[in-house]
């Protein structure tokens, strides 16, 4: 085996392990920490594919920002063991059905996708670097980029609406 393959398999092993921990951990905080570890391993995969900018963005946005939000919510929402037990058999069944359908869809998608063959002649190792990515983003994908700002705006308004203060809120 080539060294890069060893790195790949070790990384994949850790990724799967931490992803399974996310689902199986009893304590939601452990779940979040395992999810952060998973994002780290995914960034490792991005680096192996030389998508360096994506790797950094994955860590900054997902591991550094969204997971902080998750942790805030879980830590400070006062989750207790007693609430854990309130899941009925019906919710469990529904969860299994939804999860199963999602998995089937994913499997079908993966089977339908044809990966384009790599042409080693005009393959550029620098495709995933920030310079190339920027040029693509601000010329070919300009409309999605501008629409992203509308999306962010809507999210902002939504957050403000949902987080409106009510009388009797504690504030410290």
């Amino acid at each position: 085996m080539k060294p890069i393959e060893i790195v790949f398999y070790v990384l994949t092993g850790i990724t799967l392990l931490s992803a399974i921990t996310v689902v199986t951990a009893r304590n939601p905080i452990h779940s979040v920490l395992a999810l952060i570890a998973t994002f780290f391993c995914l960034s490792g995969h991005y680096i192996l594919m030389n998508a360096q900018f994506l790797a950094a963005v994955n860590i900054i946005v997902y591991a550094g920002a969204i997971m902080v939000l998750f942790l805030f919510t879980i830590m400070f929402l006062n989750l207790r063991r007693e609430d854990e037990e309130s899941k009925t058999n019906l919710t469990k069944m529904a969860a299994v059905v939804v999860g199963g359908i999602l998995m089937v869809t994913m499997l079908l998608v993966f089977r339908a996708v044809q990966l384009p063959a790599v042409n080693e002649g005009n393959f550029d190792a620098r495709t995933g670097l920030v310079e190339q990515l920027g040029i693509m983003l601000y010329s070919d994908y300009l409309l999605p980029f501008e629409l992203a700002s509308v999306l962010l705006l809507v999210a902002m308004v939504g957050a403000v609406m949902l987080g409106k203060r009510e009388a009797g809120d504690r504030h410290f």
């Binding site: 920002a65 939000l69 190792a125 310079e131 700002s149 403000v160």
Partner: protein, 123 residues
């Protein structure tokens, strides 16, 4: 300056990670094993300036902190979008600048709305 930028550039970071982990784990084990250990009911209680412990520490907190966290996520994404633009700033020229002003204008409108709504007001 590095001309190629390949994944192998990141190899030395593994060494740093190993060093840091080794240092932390060793220190933790050493300090745990050589210190004295005396347990008592009062000592194991959370510190509350000597007053008997009242309730649990893990109570719900003000919604403000969640709002700050949500806004942080949104603005973080905006900042990330600025990086590829800044790196290609000279190449993209005036068109790129106008595109970015449009993008930031929409977000600043949202920012203005947030300030007007008093989300960032602390008392």
């Amino acid at each position: 300056m590095n001309a190629s930028y390949l994944p192998s550039d990141y190899l030395p970071v593994l060494i740093q990670l190993g060093l840091a982990l080794g240092f932390i784990i060793t220190t933790m084990i050493v300090t745990h094993s050589i210190g004295p250990k005396r347990k008592s009911q009062k000592k194991d209680d959370p510190f509350e300036c000597g007053i008997p412990v009242e309730g649990d520490a893990r109570t719900p907190i003000s919604i403000k902190y969640f709002l700050i966290a949500i806004l942080f996520v949104l603005f973080d994404v905006e900042v990330i979008f600025l990086y590829p633009w800044a790196v290609n700033f000279k190449g993209l020229g005036v068109t790129g600048f106008i595109e970015m002003v449009l993008f930031m204008g929409l977000l600043l409108a949202g920012f203005y709305y947030i300030i007007r709504k008093g989300v960032l007001k602390w008392e």
